[in-house]
């Protein structure tokens, strides 16, 4: 049922599914890791606005009349256009996605009236959380470039609508977009997609460099946050899934060694890298205690503990996997060996109280 192939060099994954709902997503390899800081965020906000054939107003009204749910999301890896609609409306939504990719107008007034307020709101809302600030800092010190870019546009740099248009030309290219269609018939989807003609340009892939042993401290009001972070390679995802499942993962809410000391772990997975995070937030003194205990816990995990968590790690992987970003590496006992010695560290909040990396 699941097939992956290239038509006109587009990567297309189609699956038929029972039911009346169809969904088509375009995953564009051009998230905040690409371009200048904030450009990808602004570009993601331009999607589904005016294009040469149809105004954003007309598209919104028409798609709502068909009941469609559309969204344009941003991650560090990608911009993801998602559409969900009733099965019979496939042609309309494929055409709309086509228009977004090839015909968006990028009018200057849309930038100032719609795109900037919305983008800046994302940034202000997120920045209210010290955990978000900490996660951003952790990416910065772990990767510097690419995945180290800020996730959101922060307003410090000004871009014109032309700048965003130019940026879109570099990422909306045939070898840089992937289509995922669920609940559609393969031939149908491909025939509708044959109208799409995106430029083919070679996207230069920058090798991901990561750094270890760095520390960042940010003074900020609100609940304190401290995190240990470790940049990892995709080949090591299995190992860290096992470690995370063993000590306590945010995706597996249950009583765990980490939850008992007021901390939790996560494995952020990107295309070319990942970030293993152990974090704690709350009252500064309490966070200090928790993160110190968490540090000693990570370094004292026994291999038998790891081995007994393989099944849980498989569940962890399944919970993180989705149709648009499938995870398919295998997790077994051979991966149940991981030692964390060096790491990066961030402290956000009351940094007079929060410990330094050396104190852990």
């Amino acid at each position: 049922m699941l097939s992956r192939s290239a038509i006109r060099s587009y990567s297309v994954t189609v699956r038929d599914a029972p039911g009346n709902l169809s969904s088509v997503s375009v995953v564009i390899n051009g998230g905040s890791k690409a371009g200048k800081s904030g450009q990808a965020h602004l570009l993601s906000k331009f999607n589904f606005l005016n294009n040469e054939l149809k105004s954003g107003l007309r598209f919104t009204r028409e798609s709502e009349l068909l009941g469609g749910i559309v969204s344009s999301k941003l991650t560090r890896d990608s911009i993801i256009l998602n559409t969900q609609f009733l099965r019979e409306d496939l042609p309309y939504f494929v055409e709309s996605l086509n228009n977004v990719l090839t015909k968006t107008s990028f009018r200057p007034h849309e930038l100032s009236e719609i795109v900037l307020p919305s983008a800046l709101n994302d940034f202000t809302q997120a920045s209210k959380s010290n955990a978000f600030k900490g996660e951003e800092a952790l990416h910065k010190i772990s990767f510097k470039k690419g995945y180290g870019n800020s996730l959101y546009y922060d307003g410090s740099k000004s871009f014109s609508s032309e700048d965003i248009k130019e940026f879109s030309k570099t990422v909306y290219t045939s070898n840089n977009v992937e289509f995922f269609a669920s609940g559609v018939i393969e031939e149908d989807f491909k025939s509708f997609l044959s109208d799409l003609s995106l430029p083919t340009t070679s996207v230069e892939s920058v090798p991901v460099k990561s750094y270890i042993g760095k520390e960042s401290r940010i003074q900020s009001s609100g609940p304190s946050y401290a995190a240990i972070g470790l940049p990892i390679k995709p080949a090591d995802f299995a190992k860290f899934d096992i470690l995370s499942a063993t000590i306590g993962s945010s995706l597996l809410p249950s009583s765990s060694p980490l939850s008992k000391i007021g901390a939790i772990s996560r494995v952020l997975k990107y295309k070319d890298a990942g970030l293993f995070i152990v974090e704690s937030s709350g009252d500064a003194a309490q966070v200090s205690e928790s993160i110190k205990k968490a540090k000693s816990l990570i370094s004292s995990v026994s291999s038998s503990d790891l081995k007994s968590s393989v099944k849980s790690a498989n569940l962890l992987q399944a919970l993180q996997s989705s149709f648009e970003s499938p995870l398919s590496y295998s997790i077994d006992e051979s991966s149940a060996n991981v030692k964390v010695t060096d790491f990066n560290y961030v402290a956000v909040g009351d940094i007079d109280v929060l410990p330094f990396a050396d104190d852990l």
Binding site: A17, G19, G56
Partner: protein, 442 residues
């Protein structure tokens, strides 16, 4: 089909196809327990849940929170790749096991074991620790104004009845709960005809039924009678000027799961839908209310809801407003729009709302966990669950006159309940809004 839109080609270029929806398979065990499964070949995670018909509605003020507490104790843990979580509601509670597809039999054995030994598990548990956690959960909910006003909306609407009790109990009621209370609850509610086991994922129905049948030991027994509840027009105002905004929710008595107007109420809520002033589609979205309130920035966010319980429900909106001095303008225009639902709503608005309701209905069932919960709740509360096809055709058959007729009975000149927190200084008094539920002329 759609007049007024010039570029009609793209819209009418539809493909008419019919597809079979996933079917739900049912089985009844000798002790009265219903098993319902839905196969989803694409799922990476399979889920199985044990739902029973007990919640805050079956409690009283002194035992408030016992259903949630008991279920949280039963539904927690992670062993061998099976994650146990719990789901707390006003009329049902559920224990859900999630696992990888190859592990589903193991998960169903665990669910059966929990169902069979519930009382022993409670006795051997860290009861006090879970009480502390539940109080924490309740405090967490109270600290999010958007959620808090909704809990108080139903508390005020159904005051004096158990349906008005908070789902998670209050800090004082939970503090005094004893293991005995949990045992009494289980004895009364965890009985055959009050239990549904639902599963979704890459599963085999027969194998699952066999496993459950052989390992689940739940006593036979009758479903306890649902306690009565009646809607009371009222207001609760929790002014807190330290919050940055005003948060308000207004509702009328809505439709229960078994009501023939269940989908009509859902469609009516979607006529006004939801709105986020910072979303890129804020100026573009269809509802007339959103175009009205956007230009003068009367509201940051609003959303309409149609919440259902077994025999009644709540229908209304909740909003957050940072332009607090203009709060009454927003509510004024919203209630004026509600009036229009009875008198001058257009076919185009209803048609759009119907399509949106259909897609939402399908899109909400986006994980095996949400499917399991949907099955469990609907079967327990209404005795059956519509097939999706049936639900879609019911929505299709709704006409503008049906919505108008519903609005005339449910909305027009009806009592309302108001719940608010934050900077509510500019929120007018109850009678002003009550009077706006009808117009003298139109």
């Amino acid at each position: 089909m759609i007049r007024g839109i010039k570029n009609i080609k793209a819209l009418s270029n539809k493909r008419f196809i019919s597809t079979a929806n996933t079917t739900t398979k049912y089985a009844s065990l000798s002790n009265g327990v219903t098993i319902a499964t839905e196969s989803n070949p694409h799922a990476k995670v399979s889920s199985i849940g044990l739902f029973y018909g007990a919640g805050s509605r079956s409690e009283h003020a002194y035992s408030n929170g016992i259903s949630a507490l008991t279920t949280n104790i039963l539904g927690s843990g992670l062993e061998n790749g099976v994650l146990l979580t719990s789901e707390n509601g006003k009329e049902t509670n559920g224990i859900i096991a999630q696992t990888t597809n190859d592990n589903i039999i193991e998960a169903s054995k665990i669910i059966a074991k929990i169902g069979s030994n519930a009382s022993e598990i409670i006795k051997g548990s860290e009861f006090e620790l879970f009480k502390k956690q539940l109080i924490g959960q309740g405090e967490q909910l109270e600290s999010v104004p958007q959620k808090m006003i909704l809990e108080h909306l139903s508390a005020s609407a159904f005051q004096g009845y158990s349906l008005g009790l908070p789902t998670l109990g209050t800090s004082s009621s939970v503090k005094d709960l004893q293991v005995d209370d949990a045992e009494r609850l289980l004895e009364k509610h965890l009985v055959g005809s009050n239990v549904v086991i639902s599963a979704s994922g890459n599963i085999n129905h027969d194998e699952l039924v066999e496993t459950i049948e052989s390992s689940l030991n739940i006593p036979q027994g009758h479903k306890p009678i649902t306690k009565p509840a009646s809607f009371l027009g009222s207001e609760v105002r929790m002014r807190d000027d330290t919050l940055p905004k005003a948060f308000v929710s207004i509702g009328v008595e809505g439709e229960g799961f078994t009501s023939p107007a269940y989908y009509v109420a859902k469609v009516a809520a979607n006529v006004f839908g939801s709105f986020d002033s910072k979303a890129t589609n804020a100026t573009l979205t269809s509802s007339k209310l959103s175009s009205m309130v956007h230009e003068y920035h009367l509201v940051d966010k609003f959303q309409h809801f149609s919440t259902s319980y077994s025999d009644n429900g709540l229908w209304g909106f909740s909003c957050e407003v940072s332009n607090v001095q203009l709060l009454d303008d927003f509510i004024h225009w919203t209630l004026k729009e509600w009036n229009r639902l009875s008198v001058s709503i257009t076919d185009a608005e209803i048609e759009r709302a119907k399509q949106q309701t259909k897609v939402q209905l399908l899109a909400e069932l986006n994980s095996t966990k949400s499917v399991v919960s949907d099955i469990g709740n609907k079967v327990l509360l209404s005795g059956y669950r519509n097939s999706i096809t049936e639900a879609l055709s019911k929505i299709d058959s709704i006409q503008t006159k049906d919505v108008k007729a519903w609005a005339k009975v449910a909305l027009w000149d009806k009592d309302i309940v108001i719940s608010s927190t934050g900077q509510t200084e500019a929120l007018m008094d109850y009678s002003k809004w009550r009077n706006q539920m009808a117009m003298l002329r139109w």
